[in-house]
Structure formats: C-alpha cells, structure tokens
C-alpha cells in the first residue's frame, strides 16, 4: 500500500532556528504539493512541483520559506529563520493534476 511519508512527524524549535521538513512522494506520481494547516486559516497551498519543476510557490512567504525537489523521491520545505507564526501542521501530497494523496503531516511548534 503506497503512501506519502513525511519526516519528522513532530518538531519543536526555537524562534530563529532553521527547520527542514522532508517528504517522500508515492513512486510514479508526477506532482508534489506542500500545504499548511492552521485553525485560523485552514488548509493553504504553499507550493507545488510537477516533474520536479516548481510550478507555483506564490503561497509561500518568500523571504523565509523555500521548497525544493532534489530528486523524484524527495521534496523538502525549509523555513529559515522560523517564527512563532509558522507553527502549524505541514502536509505534503503527491499525485497527478486531478488527484492528490496526502502524507501524515509534520506538526511544527516554534517557541
């Protein structure tokens, strides 16, 4: 049963520290998405890639967030420096343009 995996599942860090979240998409999927979920804002699309090329990252704060896909089996989302307002659950999803499968999420707490 193929699944999207994300590491770490939980991360607590202090303001100003760098945070890296990793995602392994399902093999064969050509599109990878990064979402952020908070109580206030709900589910927000941060960025997505197709065939490893970034297509849209307009949902990300550009000054501190970056997303990359160094190869087909790994997507990363980096926050540097982190701030308390970045506390949220970050989801990776993979799939095709018309269908997405979500990972379990990384719960980030920035103190």
């Amino acid at each position: 049963d193929a699944r999207v995996t994300q590491t770490p599942r939980h991360k607590v860090t202090e303001m100003g520290q760098e945070v890296t979240m990793r995602c392994q998409p399902i093999l064969g999927h050509n599109t990878v998405f990064w979402y952020r979920q908070t109580m206030m804002q709900g589910l927000e699309l941060l960025a997505y890639f197709r065939n490893r090329a970034p297509l849209d990252d307009s949902g990300m704060p550009k000054d501190r967030f970056s997303a990359e896909m160094p190869d087909a089996t790994l997507a990363t989302l980096k926050i540097q420096p982190s701030e308390p307002r970045d506390s949220a659950v970050y989801f990776c999803a993979s799939g095709f343009s018309y269908e997405q499968y979500f990972g379990p999420g990384t719960r980030l707490t920035v103190t």
Binding site: A93, Y98, E99, G105
Partner: protein, 112 residues
C-alpha cells in the same frame, strides 16, 4: 476562479442517523470533484471522487455523493453514521491541471 463553499462548519448527528454534508462550487469550466476526510492528528484521506460518468459516486466507509451540475453541488451522504465517522470532511474541486481548491471543512460529530 474556482471556489468551494461548505455550507456547514459543524454538523452534530446521533449515531445510526443519516447525515448530509453540503458542498457547492463555482466554476466556469467542467471540474473534477472530491471529498476528503481528516481524522484527528492525521492527514487527509480520499473518500470519493467524481471525474465523469454516473453522477452518484460511492466511496469508502459507506459514503456516497451526488454530482448535480445544474445546482453546482456535490453533497456527501451516509445513511447511518458511526462514532468512528467523527472527523473533518473537506470538499475539493479541480478544474483540470491545477491544484485542488478546498473548502473550509465541515466537522462531523457523531453522538452516542
């Protein structure tokens, strides 16, 4: 631009009662439609999808949804809910070749 409206933010229902979670969308083009479920502390799981064909779509866990093009709706139903159905449900639309557009979610609470 496409948008999705989930008309109820919270729906409480007694165990074994039927439930309907409402979803309306706006789009100027044909769309694909989805329902996802999110259990506490988990990711979103695909419940069912409408891509084409029959307007009545059956999904996992006994859920079904009906696509109504004239009403631009895609309501989710289950004839008899269980405690284990307590979760957040998200309706989503995809007009093709772009990311899904999600509604804000409906929290279903099943009461024993």
């Amino acid at each position: 631009a496409q948008s999705v409206t989930q008309l109820d933010s919270q729906v409480p229902v007694f165990e074994e009662a039927p439930v309907e979670l409402r979803c309306n969308y706006s789009s100027s083009v044909s769309v694909y439609l989805f329902w996802y479920v999110q259990y506490p502390n988990q990711g979103l799981q695909l419940l069912l999808k409408y891509l084409s064909g029959s307007t009545l779509v059956k999904g996992i866990n006994g859920f079904e949804a009906e696509f109504n093009k004239s009403q631009t709706s895609f309501h989710l139903r289950k004839p008899s809910v269980h405690i284990s159905d307590t979760a957040e449900y998200f309706c989503a639309v995809n007009p093709g070749n772009t990311p899904l557009v999600f509604g804000k979610g409906t929290r279903l609470s099943v009461i024993a």
